[in-house]
């Protein structure tokens, strides 16, 4: 300021109010921030910690990393045995590879089904578009478990699909869809399809149709225009959709449990079994840590997209 104003009472009241407002803002940030730190971030630190503990029978079923010896020395015991088991026991490796393969395959199928649907909805006239969008979102609001269950009834050896195919004489032995990788693929695609379609729709809807018209006007055939204009511009949606399907699918438990065979080992199922059947919390934690390490890259990619989608609109107005 050029000429410092005399510090009046009014001025001091205003300053106090600004401080109060600032502390109110801090509170709005601090409450959810604290909650997430405590109940979301801290638990991951604990998973990491316990993955280095050893299994024991008791409550809790793991050893302490930090103990005090008789001479009151601090002793830190890190057990790497859990991680060694990951490497030595082929079961884990197979489960990880299976998870990546099945999740990847399902993501690709979901993309192939979802993209044309999203494109069709984005190009639909306004009225039908709302209805179609509603139809895509609706299954997402109905119970996930129920939707997987619906396929159990269809795909089982004595399920509806086999019954229909058998009575039509197309096959003479029931197909073993449930109980195979195909059952899991169908289950994942079915459950996660809305997650693929919605981000795709969001980017395709924003796409200015006059871009395609311009491409056509400049002599580009429709299919070529799609490949050179639409597809590249919808890549953010493609990536977001794929991440939304792939990442949770890798750790999926319910679908392989209900639609997969006894030998369809996916890593979520292995973790579940280690925890609930073997009660081996340290190994379950180690499985989780390795899974997280595998998923760090895709999760970061997803977050990068998220933050780019939603830049803070707090920039200065000119």
């Amino acid at each position: 300021m050029n000429a410092p104003a005399p510090v009046s009472l009014r001025h001091r009241v205003n300053q106090a109010r600004l401080r109060l407002q600032a502390s109110g803002q801090r509170l709005v940030i601090a409450v959810p921030f604290g909650w997430l730190l405590l109940f979301f971030l801290l638990p991951f630190a604990l998973v990491l910690k316990i993955s280095f503990a050893e299994f024991r029978i008791g409550i809790p079923p793991f050893t302490d990393l930090v103990t005090f010896t008789d001479q009151a020395y601090l002793r830190v015991t890190l057990a790497f045995s859990n991680y060694l088991r990951m490497v030595e026991d082929r079961q884990y490796l197979v489960a990880y590879l299976n998870s990546l393969r099945i999740a990847g395959g399902s993501t690709l199928i979901a993309l192939l089904i979802g993209y044309p649907m999203a494109y069709a909805i984005a190009r639909a006239p306004k009225g039908p578009r709302a209805v179609l969008l509603f139809l895509v979102v609706l299954p997402f609001w109905t119970s996930f478990l129920i939707r997987v269950y619906a396929w159990v009834g269809l795909l089982k050896g004595n399920g509806l699909i086999n019954a229909a195919l058998l009575s039509l004489g197309i096959i003479d032995q029931p197909l073993l869809i449930a109980g195979s990788d195909w059952g899991v693929h169908i289950g994942i695609v079915y459950s996660y399809l809305p997650f693929m379609i919605l981000p795709l729709y969001a980017t395709l809807e924003k796409l200015d149709p006059s871009l395609l018209e311009a491409a056509h006007d400049l002599g580009c055939r429709p299919w070529k225009a799609f490949l050179t204009v639409t597809l590249p511009l919808s890549m953010p949606g493609v990536i977001a959709g794929c991440m939304l399907v792939f990442i949770p699918a890798v750790g999926e438990f319910v679908i392989p449990e209900l639609l997969g065979g006894a030998d369809t080992f996916m890593i979520g199922r292995v973790l579940w079994n280690e925890f609930f059947l073997n009660r081996d919390w340290p190994v379950a934690s180690a499985v989780a840590v390795v899974m997280l390490v595998l998923l760090v890259a895709p999760i970061m990619l997803f977050q990068h997209l998220q933050s780019r989608e939603a830049p803070a609109k707090t920039e200065a107005r000119p």
């Binding site: 050029n2 104003a5 001025h11 109010r17 920039e315 200065a316 107005r317 000119p318």
Partner: protein
């Protein structure tokens, strides 16, 4: 006539300016802006603006996008705090005073009507915040509805109104508290051309009837000319010139103002002779010197510009009988605009000039048409000389 050599920011005496062609009498300064700077990070939006706004005045802040006019308005409303400098309203320093305690109200570009409230509730909102008793509030709301002729729409929600009606609700809401100053951010930009022209006059009427000081931000030069008592032209964060519209048009102080405020033909030249009663300028773009009938106290040999409004150029088929102020050229284009026509003439130097002729002046004798050889001329009183 304003002194053209003095920068607009230097005003030691604070008495209201005389307004040529206006009977309105202005009161003492109500908003005093002293060397205000506003920075957003590295970007300087307002760069040292000083300005007094007088009671009862209708002031337009005019400028292109990004010139800082809206930021200046938002600082008066209290949505932005100056980085440095002082802003006084009614003699009180507004530093740290939040928007809800300032005696000013704002009409937003987007109107910002509360979508979940009726027209009546929108207008009553500010009064309710002041704790005005119910009966007085109802009376004031009724007055406001009558003022903007929306009595029949009191119970509608904003989305049930047309654009013009919404604009009037926003105006009534901002006026309801009888603010000391009403700030209007591009109040007419959302209306179509016809409605905009009518509303300009409505705004002037309402301002005169209520006597409230209006500060209007606009990018439309005609709008500013129609409505304002004074216009402040802003560019790159500071006020280039502040004057009554007529003075601004007739005596721009820079090339920027001359070109921004209306159409102009600009001739660059060298000051050859500068006497108290006349000036002579030699321009490569003209065959003869420019002769101006007053002095400008410039340095001889300096580069200056002579600004000539298109309506001050006359066309003739015969060479004019004067040693100055004419040029020869060919008519390249004629733009018919109803009451006037604009002739675009390419001079022998290659420069194109515009000459606007009232169509009632084109009698039967008028024969000038495309590709005709013509002479352009003007009087010694027509040019305005600017030095920057």
């Amino acid at each position: 006539m304003p002194d053209q050599t003095k920068p607009a920011t230097d005003r030691p005496v604070k008495h209201p300016p005389d307004l040529p062609g206006c009977t309105k009498k202005l009161g003492p300064p109500i908003v005093e802006i002293e060397s205000v700077v506003k920075k957003f990070g590295d970007f300087t939006a307002v760069d040292g603006v000083s300005l007094d706004i007088f009671e009862g005045e209708f002031l337009c802040l005019l400028g292109g996008s990004g010139c800082g006019k809206t930021t200046l308005l938002r600082m008066m409303a209290g949505f932005e705090q100056p980085t440095s400098g002082r802003l006084l309203i009614d003699g009180k320093d507004m530093a740290g005073v939040p928007p809800y305690e300032r005696p000013v109200n704002m009409m937003f570009q987007s109107y910002a009507l509360f979508p979940h409230m009726t027209v009546e509730q929108n207008i009553a909102f500010g009064l309710r915040q002041d704790g005005m008793p119910r009966a007085a509030r109802a009376k004031r709301v009724a007055e406001m509805l009558a003022l903007v002729e929306l009595e029949r729409f009191a119970l509608r929600k904003p989305h049930q109104l047309s654009g013009g009606q919404r604009q009037r609700v926003a105006l009534a809401r901002a006026l309801a508290k009888h603010p000391r100053v009403l700030l209007l951010d591009e109040p007419l930009s959302a209306l179509d051309k016809k409605l905009r022209e009518r509303t300009q006059l409505d705004l002037v009427n309402i301002q005169e009837r209520t006597g409230i000081t209006f500060v209007v931000v606009t990018h439309d030069q005609e709008e500013a000319m129609t409505m304002a008592d004074r216009v402040a032209i802003m560019d790159q964060g500071w006020i280039v010139q502040i004057d009554a519209p007529q003075a601004m048009y007739e005596y721009p102080n820079t090339r920027f103002v001359a070109e921004f405020f209306g159409d102009v033909n600009m001739f660059e030249g060298v000051l050859e002779e500068d006497e108290p009663d006349h000036v002579r300028i030699r321009s490569d773009e003209l065959p003869v010197p420019i002769f101006v009938g007053h002095g400008i106290s410039g340095r001889e040999g300096a580069t200056v510009w002579a600004a000539l409004r298109p309506e001050k150029l006359t066309l003739s088929s015969e060479p004019p009988n004067q040693p100055h102020n004419w040029a020869e050229g060919v008519v390249k284009d004629i733009v018919y605009l109803g009451s006037t026509s604009t002739y675009i003439v390419e001079l022998t130097s290659g420069k194109r000039v515009r000459s606007t002729i009232a169509n009632h002046a084109r009698d039967v004798e008028w024969t000038i048409t495309w590709e005709d050889r013509v002479f352009v001329s003007w009087t010694a009183r027509s040019p305005v000389v600017v030095t920057s």
